[in-house]
């Protein structure tokens, strides 16, 4: 006769948490009832079955990682009672059930010790200060989003970057760096947008502009002379002749004349602007070489990118940003910059003026042909 408890305890092992505990305690009660069952003839058989069921049951009542275990008070008196009953039965049966009894005793012992809450008691709710849910929003909006300050701490809670903390509260405005971003279902060769508002952005040094085109509005990095009411154009065609670009318009690098100043440069087409976004910066288009363009970044480094990468013509807004004087320590604190360590530390090889040549040109283009390799040598 298959022990009904056997199947049950096997299934219990697969379960977790409170449900497991429930089923296991039910199994224990079943085992006790089995002891009192009158249909089984032999006392010894009854006893053995009961004990094996009980041992399995007590084994199923294992400790899981969930902290709920500590909180839920098990009916300890009931268990000890069932253990007592089982041991009594065993005593009266003639079979050598000493091993079983030992198992029961073992499990009961470990139960006895591990029944006490051995993990801390929760006295507060889970802390969510370091949750990053505020930046998981996928849908674009022009509404400013509340931003959590990290204080230079990473996900472990330790400082990873010193000197960050405090400062004025900031709200994040989702800036669309992909200038060639068509509206849903309205792809075309070029489109125009009107500047509605140019305003300060606390999250960056440059100003941002709210532009509206078609049925949508978006934030973009404003260029130097962008005014309210300007109409800016974004085009993706590369003609044979270079375009006479107005400031604020955005074209692929292949369409711009050589020597033009640009900002918001994409290095991979379609990825969005990653370079030349800071206040007052601009890059220079140096030359165009069969399908690629070589540009100079504000750090004087030269890079080679595909000519289909978009760039906006002109300098970034807020040109006098580097000429500002902080004036007092308090203003730095308003910007969220904490004072550096006052401890005198011997400066190493990193300190001092460095005069070194510009690193070689970096190419973000995979060109297999030898002609391109000849073109990359600067």
């Amino acid at each position: 006769m298959q022990n009904p408890g056997h199947k049950l305890s096997n299934t219990i092992h697969r379960e977790r948490g409170w449900r497991r505990h429930q089923r296991a305690s039910r199994l224990v009660c079943c085992a006790v009832k089995l002891c009192a069952c009158e249909t089984v003839t032999s006392e010894s058989v009854k006893g053995v079955m009961a004990l094996s069921a009980l041992a399995r049951a007590l084994g199923s009542l294992s400790l899981s990682a969930s902290s709920n275990v500590a909180q839920r008070v098990r009916p300890a008196p009931l268990l000890s009672q069932t253990v007592k009953q089982a041991t009594e039965l065993c005593r009266y049966s003639s079979l050598p059930c000493s091993r079983l009894l030992l198992t029961v005793r073992k499990t009961s012992f470990c139960f006895g010790t591990q029944l006490q809450p051995w993990r801390g008691i929760l006295t507060s709710a889970a802390l969510c200060q370091n949750s990053t849910r505020w930046k998981q929003r996928t849908k674009y909006t022009i509404r400013p989003i509340g931003k959590k300050k990290t204080g230079g701490r990473d996900h472990t809670g330790k400082i990873r970057t010193h000197g960050i903390g405090g400062g004025h509260k900031q709200r994040y405005r989702m800036v669309d760096f992909q200038r060639l971003h068509f509206e849903a279902g309205k792809e075309s060769e070029f489109f125009e947008e009107k500047v509605i508002e140019v305003r300060y952005d606390p999250c960056r040094s440059a100003d941002i502009a709210l532009v509206a085109g078609g049925s949508r509005k978006r934030w973009i990095i404003a260029t130097e002379n962008m005014q309210v009411g300007d109409v800016i154009k974004t085009s993706r065609t590369i003609g044979r002749m270079a375009v006479s670009a107005n400031e604020g318009d955005s074209y692929p690098l292949g369409a711009l004349p050589i020597g033009s100043l640009f900002n918001n440069l994409e290095i991979y087409p379609g990825k969005g602007a990653q370079y030349v976004r800071a206040a007052g910066t601009c890059g220079v288009l140096l030359r165009k070489v069969n399908g690629t363009a070589i540009v100079q970044l504000p750090s004087k480094r030269q890079i080679q990118v595909l000519e289909t990468c978009m760039a906006t013509v002109g300098r970034v807004s807020n040109v006098d940003h580097n000429k500002r004087i902080i004036g007092k320590a308090g203003r730095n604190r308003w910007l969220g910059i904490r004072p550096s360590s006052g401890l005198w530390q011997r400066k190493g090889g990193w300190a001092g003026r460095k005069i070194k040549p510009i690193p070689p040109m970096k190419s973000y283009v995979n060109l297999p042909s030898a002609a391109a390799a000849a073109g990359t040598t600067s």
């Binding site: 041992a55 399995r56 007590l58 084994g59 199923s60 294992s62 400790l63 899981s64 990682a65 902290s67 198992t103 073992k106 499990t107 012992f109 470990c110 139960f111 010790t113 591990q114 051995w118 993990r119 801390g120 008691i121 929760l122 006295t123 507060s124 889970a126 802390l127 969510c128 370091n130 949750s131 990053t132 996900h155 472990t156 809670g157 330790k158 489109f191 125009e192 947008e193 009107k194 509605i196 509206a212 085109g213 078609g214 049925s215 949508r216 509005k217 109409v231």
Partner: protein, 437 residues
């Protein structure tokens, strides 16, 4: 790998006990997860603070490519992970009973009212970017600055004036701005409707002379619905708008047929590169209905004036340009719903134009609009246009200060009402009397 302090049997227990841990308990103990991120961000007093907090964010799952001919071999049959086989994707579990706390509504495509073409809805919280220009394009209207002469002349007639008119209006302003509170000053969402009701009460005192003024009723919290096509797009005006003054008789046409026909030559102003559908709520699930908000057989079926007041709700704060656009849209919505109920759905030029007035105030500034609906044929850009007369930013008074404004020990603005302008109330009264006198 971050260090993890293992929870376990403490060294205070006797060693014998550690040895006697049963197999079952040990296996259970080893099943305890060692990952910090499973700790769940909770505080444990018996461990160091480095365990407190969440683990590193989980990596995003890689997208699997589904090739129709080739089926991925998964370890679903084996019932355990097998390196080299793909992760099986099981069907989503569905609860077999309806749980109202975990109910996901149907997608847009499964809704009964789903349509192929989108509809652009204007509701009471819509603030359209281009303001009045966009509202004029949407309603196919021509703008005329200033209210019509014959309406303004109604208030100049001494027979139509209230006795001690200016004094009583000033008392009404003082009541709403100063006396209606136990605190120093009442808030805007209190004094604005109080002022409006007081002014309407004043206008209503003329019922003694003109009995048709009594054949009117005020209605609040009613919902209007109007639908029209405009150059391949479907537009709707929906929802609560404001307080409505209904009357038993309709307003007479303001512009005569000559002026109406002359609007054919007028071209509507566009605002490239901005589309006229900007800021309108785009929805694919909508009900095509035209509804005045009142049932058939209502004794006051004709819309007379629509009143808008300012509220404290920050989402409902309107700039004057957006407020005027809202007034035009809702006046048009009410007029269109009424016209369609009278003359049917077929687009046509109306023989008897429908006139609706609208007044908006924030307690101090008043905006007046009179809209005449000449045509329901709004599809093409050409043809007869509707007419809108607008009088904007009319001050009723300059200052209503509870405490005097003192700059450098000199009282610049005294406490109390100052700078009262009687013209604004005359226009208010004129619009109220229009249709009854």
């Amino acid at each position: 790998m971050p260090k993890v302090v293992l929870h376990g049997v403490r060294s205070t227990e006797p060693m014998l006990l550690a040895v006697q841990i049963g197999n079952a308990a040990r296996s259970a103990f080893l099943n305890y997860s060692h990952r910090r991120c499973d700790v769940g961000g909770r505080r444990f007093f018996s461990v160091t603070c480095s365990l407190f907090g969440r683990g590193p964010p989980s990596r995003k799952e890689k997208k699997t490519l589904d090739i129709p001919g080739l089926e991925r071999v998964t370890y679903a049959d084996r019932m355990h992970f097998v390196p080299g086989l793909a992760k099986p994707i099981f069907p989503d579990w569905q609860r077999d009973w309806h749980d109202p706390h975990h109910y996901r509504g149907p997608n847009n495509e499964e809704m009964k009212l789903h349509k192929e073409n989108p509809c652009y809805v204007f509701n009471q919280r819509t603030k359209i970017l281009e303001g009045v220009r966009q509202a004029l394009w949407l309603t196919k209207s021509k703008l005329i600055q200033g209210l019509p002469e014959h309406i303004l002349s109604l208030a100049d007639d001494p027979a139509n004036q209230i006795e001690d008119q200016d004094e009583r209006v000033q008392q009404a302003i003082r009541h709403s701005r100063f006396w209606d509170t136990t605190t120093i000053r009442p808030k805007r969402d209190r004094f604005c409707p109080v002022l409006l009701r007081d002014l309407l009460h004043l206008c209503g005192t003329l019922q003694v002379k003109h009995t048709s003024l009594s054949k009117r009723i005020l209605a609040e919290n009613y919902r209007v619905a109007a639908l029209w096509n405009r150059e391949k797009d479907v537009f709707q005006v929906r929802g609560l708008n404001g307080m409505l003054l209904n009357s038993m008789t309709s307003l007479p046409a303001v512009a005569q047929s000559g002026e109406v026909l002359a609007t054919e030559n007028h071209t509507l102003e566009t605002f490239y590169p901005i589309s006229p559908t900007i800021d309108l709520q785009c929805t694919y699930v909508y009900d095509q209905k035209n509804d005045t908000g009142f049932r058939d057989g209502y004794p006051y079926p004709h819309t007379h004036t629509l009143f808008f007041t300012e509220t404290e709700d920050s989402a409902a704060k309107f700039k004057p340009e957006q407020l005027r656009a809202k007034m035009i849209m809702f006046a048009f919505g009410n007029a269109l719903a009424r016209a369609k109920s009278l003359h049917g759905e077929h687009p046509q030029v109306l023989e008897h134009p429908v006139v609706v007035q609208s007044i908006a105030t924030d307690g101090r500034l008043f905006q007046f609009i009179v809209l005449q609906l000449n045509t329901t044929d709004l599809g093409p850009d050409t043809g007869v246009k509707n007419l809108v007369w607008m009088d904007q930013d009319q001050l009723l008074y300059d200052y209503a200060k509870c405490r005097p404004l003192i700059k450098k020990k000199i009282v610049t603005v005294p406490a109390g009402l100052s700078g009262y302008q009687p013209e604004t109330f005359k226009k208010f009264l004129a619009l109220h009397l229009h249709g009854a006198v």
